[in-house]
Amino acid sequence: MELQLNDLTKKFGNFTAVDHVSLTMTNGVYGLLGVNGAGKTTLMRMLCTLIKPTSGNITYKGKNILELDGRYRQLLGYLPQEFGFYPEFTVQDYLLYIASIKGLRPAVAKRRTKELIQKVGLSKAAKKKMKTLSGGMKRRAGIAQAMLNDPRILILDEPTAGLDPNERIRFRNLISELSEERLVLLSTHIVSDIEYIANEIWLMKGGKIIRRGALDEIVGNMPETVWICRVEKQKVSFMINKYKVSNMKSEEDRAELRIVSADRPLPDAVQVKPTLEDAFLYYFGEKAGSEDVEI
């Protein structure tokens, strides 16, 4: 199985949202990491045949997915970033309906719906209307609908957005459990979402994939070094303006800063092993700690 993006470009008017992206995907989890507006959703929409590329194409096993049409979408599970549903449907009806438009036979649809409701932990809410669910429950219904047809290709656009930390961890585990034996593409701007589950990470910026590789490669090939140093409180703002600071821990009258920099920022700074978060900051961060960096 092979999904290929060939020189894929999407323009909205003069604005290029996805800029000549060429990639190949096989089995495994791909983490698409990028700040707001990087083009993640646009890329995923093209993968789901929701929008057509301005130029370039996507092929599955060598055939254009737009020509494969239903035969390609049959393999697809998609959880959109803005997950919409039918507010008056119960969870169960919602899943049965999606199963039907996914072409599942009624008996299979019933079985899968039952299984997935259990798997995502919505058993108690199965008869509740979709509109009455909490944000986290909606997301779980969302992942359940994506999984109905046991998709070979699972595309999840910021599946953890808006979830509380507990829910996020549960969701992450669920995704890693579901990711066996299929191709999963997961977008996020939260590093910890994919740090441990992605086999390959893509860093996307301005419509381009600027770095890709396994976690170690991305982190290891970072041209700058990560340092930890302690400074007095009044010097903190000076340091934040001068360096890319990926983390800060307050101590009594001092602060411990984690800094990404080519040079040793202070004489007593200690070099440490970089993490993906540091890499994110290095590639995407402006100085003065970006909110996108999850602490």
């Binding site: 789901c48 045949t49 239903g70 049959q74 998609y78 919409g84 039918y86 438009i101 996914k102 609908q145």
Partner: protein, 401 residues
Amino acid sequence: MLKYEIKKVFLKGRNKIALLLLAIVLLAVSVMTVNRVEYVDENGGHKTGIAAARNLREEKNKWAGYLTEDVLRDVYRENQAINSEYASGSMEDEDKIYQKRQGISSIIDLINNANSPWREYDYYAIDSITEDQAADVYEKRISGLEEWFASGKETFSREQQEFLLSQYKNLDTPFYYEYYDGWAALLQNISTFILLLALFIGFFVSGIFSDEFQTKADAVFFSTKLGRNKAVGSKLGAGFIIATAVYAAALIIYTAAVLLILGADGAGCPIQLEMWRDFYNATFLETYLLIVFGGYIGMLFAATAAMLVSALTRSTVTAIIAPFVVLCVFPFLSRIVTLPQVCSFFPDRLLDIYNGVRDFSLMQIGGKVIGIPAIIILVYTAVTLVLQPIVYRVYKKAEIK
């Protein structure tokens, strides 16, 4: 798939309210229709409803049978007798005349129609003609038409004149007569009811396509295997089923309610008893079926227009307006800017076949003369059919931006 598509429509809050409103409208129109039948009793008391219908029916059915010359003469004499019995001209006597005439009023109407100037109705005609003239209604119908053609006050072509004349001559006489007031009342209000019904149905189906976008369920919908083929078809199917089911249910309830209360006799009587100049030689039942069928096509056309706008604009509100434009605004505007010939082809005419068969609305294609109701039914059936694949294609190709 279809089941859930239909479920989506009727689970929507605003559609539930609309359904309730439709039930109220149905009740109101039924009550109005039933109240059209009145009966005045011996003491001058006005009655409506079941009792009135029962009394009137009893009175009228005393005259049930073929309206032969002899029967017409009897009616003429009966009328004279009533007139001379209450000849004072006082209010009481006038009321009495009205009361006594109720059993023969429909037949008097017939005689009046035949003896009134063309396109007019002289309420007192029967009082100023001879018995022979009263007996001669069927001949009068034909000769009246011929005289009108001869007067040159109309603009029909030779073929059209011949067509109308042959329709007139082909009408079976004498008429079979019995109490038919239930059917008459039903037909008088049915056009209004069908128009309202079409607007309601347009409302129900207006969200079938656009709500996917409005609720943002579109991204999942169009990324599924059948989202760009069968699932679109099932939306069209849902629209058709909802439209047909609501239309049929509402009309069956309305018709049943009215005829159960007013009586269903007269189904087999010629419609000319009620619409003297109608050139469609049909019974009340047949005319009713034609009206209902025409309305069905008009309603389907309006519903399809709503669905097309729904798919094109992705806005449910805009889609709701479509049937109004098609059935109300458009025809209304075109009547201000008089385009009479074009007017008769607007879809609202389909919902008003009742008046369509009343008028001499004709069209000539080559040498063949056809009534406009028949033409618009055909045309809009075709247009509605052609629109289905268009809606399908528009929706199938949607991009989700």
